[in-house]
């Protein structure tokens, strides 16, 4: 693992005013991504994955959302730079693929027009050259009949095709980091695999770092180097992908793994969803937010919020977990 981080997010929090008192959708989240590295962020829907990424890109509704922490990228702290410099980072430094490809494309503009827009406006390309590049990009993401698609409107494409267009748009300005926020959630299973394969291929070919967000551990398993598991706005465990799958420590991570569908018949029998619901972030439970659902919970768990601590000094690189109970186990 390269020690030089490309994107270094430290103690990021996002707070909203809330009805009675402020609450956090992202709480003390830190992670780093090295050039070319792939990080997965996993957690149930509503745990703050998208909020984290939108905070990094400063796309949250301001001034309602109050962001604190450091977001270091390319020698800058994105949290503090002027809006104009931030705009230059978006698209050309960090690209975003959002989750619903239908609503993420402008229905009133042709694919070509929306793809080419920043290339012409900000990268000094001639319109024709920009469209040429867009056609190449659509080719690269495997869109059939790429050139003709430039004149199509989003509603004329299928879900899978739209997601490919969105990916092509996100990489059109050569970002160093690509954030893919649940890029396959809205797609059929077979198309899902294709789109994931595409993202993995593009990352390797273009040498981008990748942050892949999903509620499904299975989605990030094959193509990430590291994984961070989020629960109720916090990272509860982070480890290399192999380590996390081989030696999951946090009870929530284990529950996520147990709920993963597998091909193995024997395991399928044991497959079970996590009982209970994720907490309402406006009124999180006291102490460890997972305690109402945790099988290992004990008396102290609802009293104080555990810290994210490093474990397994011998061997595994940087494996951290936010649960004192499992730390006492002998691995």
């Amino acid at each position: 693992m390269s020690s030089q981080a490309l994107l270094d997010v430290e103690r990021l929090s996002v707070a909203y005013p809330g009805r009675d008192r402020p609450f956090r959708t992202v709480d003390d989240v830190s992670f780093r991504v090295a050039p070319g590295e792939a990080l997965g962020i996993v957690g149930e829907s509503g745990c703050g994955k998208s909020q984290t990424m939108l905070a990094v890109l400063r796309l949250l509704p301001s001034p309602v959302a109050d962001i604190s922490g450091a977001i270091r990228f390319g020698g800058d702290d994105l949290a503090g730079i002027p809006a104009k410099r931030m705009r230059a980072v978006r698209g050309s430094g960090i690209g975003l693929v959002s989750q619903d490809a239908l609503s993420a494309l402008n229905p009133a503009m042709t694919i070509g027009a929306q793809m080419a827009e920043p290339l012409v406006r900000y990268d000094g390309m001639r319109r024709r050259a920009a469209l040429e590049r867009c056609a190449e990009l659509l080719d690269l993401v495997g869109l059939p009949g790429a050139r003709q698609r430039l004149g199509s409107y989003p509603h004329e494409l299928s879900g899978g095709m739209r997601q490919r267009v969105l990916i092509a748009m996100a990489i059109s300005r050569n970002p160093k980091v690509l954030i893919a926020d649940e890029p396959t959630t809205a797609l059929d299973v077979t198309i899902q695999a294709q789109v994931l394969g595409l993202i993995d291929r593009l990352r390797r070919e273009l040498g981008m770092a990748l942050i892949l967000i999903s509620h499904d551990l299975g989605v990030v398993a094959g193509i990430t180097d590291r994984i961070a598991v989020m629960y109720a706005g916090r990272i509860v465990e982070t480890a290399s992908t192999t380590d996390l799958f081989d030696r999951p420590r946090h009870p929530y991570t284990r529950a996520l793994l147990a709920s993963m569908p597998r091909m193995d018949e024997e395991l399928r029998e044991r497959l079970r969803p996590i009982p209970g619901l994720p907490p309402d972030l406006e009124q999180p439970p006291p102490g460890c937010a997972y305690h109402p659902r945790c099988l290992l919970a004990r008396a102290g768990c609802e009293q104080s919020m555990p810290q994210l601590v490093r474990i397994g000094a011998g061997g595994a690189p940087d494996h951290r977990v936010r649960c004192p109970v499992v730390l006492e186990e002998t691995p």
Partner: protein, 315 residues
């Protein structure tokens, strides 16, 4: 797009017939004897009867309607009693004035309304946004003729900056003179619609600006001004266009009051005079013209609407 436009244009035909039927029936319903009104109080019953016969007023209603339609097609709207001239010629010399006044007013209301509404929506909850809400409430609660009178008292009688009545000064003319005469009536006429359009634009922009594709544009580095102009407005305008269309029609009827307050020589003022003198043919003609204006505006709005919607545009 072309088939849509043609289909929509054809739909105007039955509506236009409906409108002629309505104005025709209006003539039937309004009490009063046209022959007596034309011939004056000293005419004998015999003379009146002869005129009724000549005008076809004794025919069955259906025959009268067919005759009325036939006359319409040849541009004959009857004779105005108060002007002593064909209704067509009275309206013809005034229509341009009304179109000038209401056209300017709707353009001003639309441009300013969209600009102000967008500007406020870009910072919801800000001082300017709250200012808009108050302004809208104000302009939508004052009656337009009262507002016109206040403007006249302030800018014409008080400050003596602008003329209050007519379209040109005596012995005047020229573009500058006409523009000076237009300022107050245009403001009066536009104020209400401007407020409505600004409010609609604000809510339409607020609705669109939260969409994922707006975030997509921002996430690719597109600047805020361009995001609004290129991504938000084209998607917000269809609902605004509908309101502008409604306001244009509304404004056309509002012109009657405004033209009267400012003695602006348009259809509205003629209609006002016609109503006060029971000049039925002129009332019918004026209303018919305004109604046809409504129909045309609606057609225009629907066509524009389709233009903004790629799903129809392609068809």
């Amino acid at each position: 797009m072309l088939t849509f436009t043609v289909r929509r244009a054809l739909q105007m035909i039955p509506v236009a017939f409906g409108v002629t039927l309505a104005t025709f029936l209006l003539g039937q319903i309004i009490p009063g004897d046209q022959a007596a009104a034309l011939l004056g109080p000293s005419s004998s019953e015999q003379e009146r009867q002869a005129l009724r016969e000549e005008m076809g007023l004794n025919e069955p209603v259906l025959t009268q309607y067919v005759t009325y339609l036939g006359n319409l097609f040849t541009g004959d709207l009857g004779r105005s009693l108060s002007f002593g001239r064909p209704v067509m010629s009275v309206l013809a010399e005034r229509i341009a004035n009304t179109v000038l006044l209401s056209g300017t007013a709707i353009v001003v209301a639309a441009l300013l309304g969209v600009a102000i509404g967008t500007w406020a929506a870009m910072k919801p909850g800000s001082v300017r946004d709250r200012g808009l809400t108050v302004g809208v409430l104000f302009f939508n609660s004052i009656p337009s003729f009262w507002f016109g009178l206040v403007l006249i008292m302030t800018f014409s009688l008080g400050l003596r900056l602008l003329p209050a009545t007519g379209m040109t000064s005596i012995g005047g003319g020229g573009v500058v003179d006409v523009v000076a005469h237009m300022v107050l009536p245009v403001i009066t006429l536009a104020a209400w619609s401007l407020a409505v359009i600004a409010r609609m634009t604000r809510s339409a922009v607020l609705e669109v600006i939260g969409n994922d594709y707006v975030r997509t544009a921002r996430s690719r580095g597109v600047g805020e001004m361009r995001v609004v102009v290129r991504h938000v407005l084209p998607n917000a305008l269809p609902s605004v266009v509908t309101v502008i269309g409604l306001q244009a029609g509304f404004l056309l009827s509002g012109a009657v009051l405004t033209e009267t307050v400012f003695s602006w020589p348009g259809i509205g003022l003629a209609l006002y005079q016609a109503i006060s003198t029971r000049d039925i043919p002129l009332i019918q003609g004026g209303i018919l013209l305004i109604a046809i204006g409504f129909v045309l505006i609606n057609f225009l709005v629907d066509t524009l609407q389709a233009y903004f919607n790629p799903k129809i545009k392609l068809a």
